[in-house]
Symmetry: C2
Subunit: 201 residues, 2 copies
């Protein structure tokens, strides 16, 4: 048995393929011509699908270019955080949680890299990317409420959420700065270190 990522189901397989085709077409066309000179119609027909179907897969053109998807946290990472672990120190545990999100963020390194490159040329995409982080981090609120029972903290949810979002983006940027070595999660410690450096100036 090779990997759990291969669905035997034909429906699921097509879904993945179509999704991937849309992202691929979107990234290629936007890379060539720029975000505002590519229409959803073009992306769709490039991927061999109808425009209407495009919007069954993505909420917006920007989302397709970024390859945005729902990402789910590993159940054990989640459970450990809620229980007040793994280390018991909030910042350290938050780092573990963010790492959990980041490793599931992109199914595909190249796709993520292309997205990062396009963001340099198209600031609008950065906004959408940050908005996506926000949505992902939204799940954090429930987790924090749970965790507080096991291990209270004087830091409010808003601040924790914003720092989590910052770490996501900082990791992605550090990853880009490194010339895309490894994956984004690998640069999380660097992001945390920079943040500490600034705070302790």
């Amino acid at each position: 048995m090779p990997t759990s990522a291969l669905p035997p189901n034909a429906r699921e397989r097509q879904k993945r393929e179509r999704r991937l085709a849309l992202i691929e077409a979107a990234q290629r066309l936007v890379g060539e011509r720029g975000l505002d000179d590519v229409t959803v119609d073009e992306i769709s027909s490039e991927a061999g699908l109808s425009t209407r179907t495009f919007f069954n897969y993505f909420d917006s053109k920007d989302d397709a270019v970024l390859g945005i998807q729902e990402i789910e946290l590993d159940a054990d990472v989640r459970a450990q955080f809620v229980a007040g672990g793994p280390s018991g120190r909030l910042m350290t545990d938050l780092e573990a949680l963010v790492a959990g999100f980041l490793t599931n963020a992109a199914p595909n390194i190249e796709q993520g890299e292309r997205a990062m490159r396009l963001m340099v040329a198209e600031p609008r995409l950065v906004q959408r990317h940050i908005a996506w982080h926000q949505r992902v981090i939204g799940e954090l609120d429930e987790l924090l409420a749970e965790r507080r029972k096991a291990r209270p903290s004087p830091v409010d949810d808003d601040t924790i959420g914003m720092v989590a979002g910052l770490l996501m983006r900082a990791s992605a940027l550090a990853w880009a700065r490194s010339g895309y070595e490894g994956d984004a999660a690998a640069h999380l410690p660097e992001a945390v270190a920079q943040l500490r450096l600034l705070l302790d100036d």
Copy 2:
């Protein structure tokens, strides 16, 4: 001479009035019916202006609801930061800089408060608000480049920029949490304290 905020110029006065009328109409209607059930046409005619003119004043519907404007940093705050001051410690000076932005952020407390309230009901507005912070903070890059000559720092621009953005939002949230006491800038120290609390868990 009463204050520098009163332009003798009729053009400038009308500009302010129209801008304000648009914001007022946008906030009221969106508050009543929600962001997606109000059209730009309605906002415009409510303000007694054409739809086309609306877009001479704002880039988007969301911007009008938030009352987004260009904000400029006081020249002396700017000069001091670039020179490596006022305290010489980066984080402290960054705080002063963010305070400089925040005090010029809204010409009008009530307008800012209404915007904050609408953001609770309309998450899309939060995104736009963050995006606006990003744009404001964009100016920081030049300032940092200058400041590095006077006082180098091991912290990279990206991290500094993100922290500045975080402080803006954190201050606004703390302001809201306080029941809108004073202005947002008054809650900056609280925001910084929370951040430090988390980092030093």
